[in-house]
Amino acid sequence: MDAEPVAQAVAAPATALDLAAAEDRVLVAAFLAGSQDAFQVIVTRHQRAVYQVCYRFVRNHEDASDLAQDVFLRAFKGLKNFKGDSALSTWLYRVGVNCCLNRIAARRPDTEPLLESRHVDPRSDDPFRALARSEKATEVKRAIAQLPPRQRATLLLRVYQELSHEEIAGILGGSVGAAKANFFHALSNLKRLLQS
């Protein structure tokens, strides 16, 4: 009988578990229809990834958490524009990258926060090698911070968020070819910065 699923749906109210298990697109629709709980689940589900994207741009916890909060506030106001043709995570990254690029543009380079001090893993069996690796990592992060913003965004999304070039083009605008070229220039510039 056609109406049976409806009867079930109406008769058996969803639990918090159902909400937590729902697809992102369902949550978005529920949120747009007024469900605050659905938005809460969206935040819980994506907060870590959004925070990590922000952290990679600013490399400190305070700014990263401020930016991540801003991302979700913008999402709250802008989810009605989410088309559903990309993953919600990709859409959130786009919002996040925009927030980060705005923050970078608003801040003169010499006021960028210093990179966090290097950290040597004491569990490592070879402290000398660990120290060398850690120094190299610090240099790499410093070099990333010197890249032009779009190259930096491309690099972070590709290497650490593991997004495809197509997704990156969707986030930053422009063609897939341009996204690949940007990535190439980011890597080449990094190499040059690390050699100098």
Binding site: D2, A3, P5, V6, A9, V10, A12, P13, A14, D18, L19, A22, E23, R25, V26, A29, A30, L32, A33, G34, S35, Q36, A38, Q40, V43, T44, R48, Y51, Q52, H61, S65, Q69, F72, L73, K80, N81, F82, K83, G84, H119, K136, A137, T138, V140, K141, I144, L155, V159, Y160, H165, G177, K180, A181, F183, F184, H185, L187, L190, K191, L194
Partner: protein, 200 residues
């Protein structure tokens, strides 16, 4: 000798998806190999440099509260906004889950709710959509649902409803239209739960 790899092709080579003819060039060209190897080594260095310290578990609870507070600050008359959007949407969702309505009907029903909030409408509004063939069982359900909705509508001023519903109905309908039938079922379930909660 074919041309050297372009920047885009070098990046494609990193992903091991270079077309065969270009792959052949790469194999035979020391200069392009050096270029691609350099990029690959850079990728390894980048991987080693990866570390986002995990904040404390307490941070995430705190973060959710912060977002919640920021969001509340943005909302105008939050309770009522939620309420009416939900009422309108549950109606659309339930209709569609029953397979009696296409997305267009959801829009029609939602708009009908917005435009004729106080009217004793009964199932007339959905029937106006000539494309929809309503099954008897679903029809009975719709009637009950509609009576409930119109009962709720009576308790608010028409202008309130219109003001609150107008900005978001299209977005809800669009989001809803993109869902699969399975997702619509989940959606209806979620909203009926939310609705039940709102009545408590």
């Amino acid at each position: 000798m074919t041309t050297h790899l372009s920047p885009q092709e070098s990046v494609t080579a990193l992903d091991d998806v270079l077309p065969e003819s270009r792959q052949a060039h790469l194999k035979s060209c020391a200069s392009c190999q050096t270029e691609v190897d350099g990029l690959r080594a850079m990728m390894v260095d980048l991987g080693d440099a990866e570390d986002v310290p995990e904040p404390s578990p307490l941070f995430w609870d705190h973060f959710q509260s912060r977002v919640q507070a920021a969001v509340q600050g943005e909302m105008v008359r939050p309770a009522r906004v939620s309420w009416w959007s939900i009422v309108a949407s549950v109606r659309g969702a339930v209709a569609a889950v029953a397979a009696v309505a296409a997305a267009a009907t959801v829009a029609a029903v939602t708009i009908a709710v917005a435009l004729y909030p106080g009217a004793p409408v009964a199932p007339v509004a959905p029937m106006e959509d000539a494309q929809v063939a309503v099954a008897d069982d679903a029809m009975a359900l719709e009637t009950a649902e509609w009576a409930f909705v119109s009962g709720m509508l009576d308790s608010f001023e028409p202008n309130d409803v219109r003001e609150v519903l107008a900005p978001s109905t299209l977005a809800v309908d669009n989001a809803f239209a993109s869902l699969t039938s399975g997702e619509r079922e989940v959606f209806a379930k979620l909203l009926s739960a939310d609705l039940a909660q709102g009545m408590e």
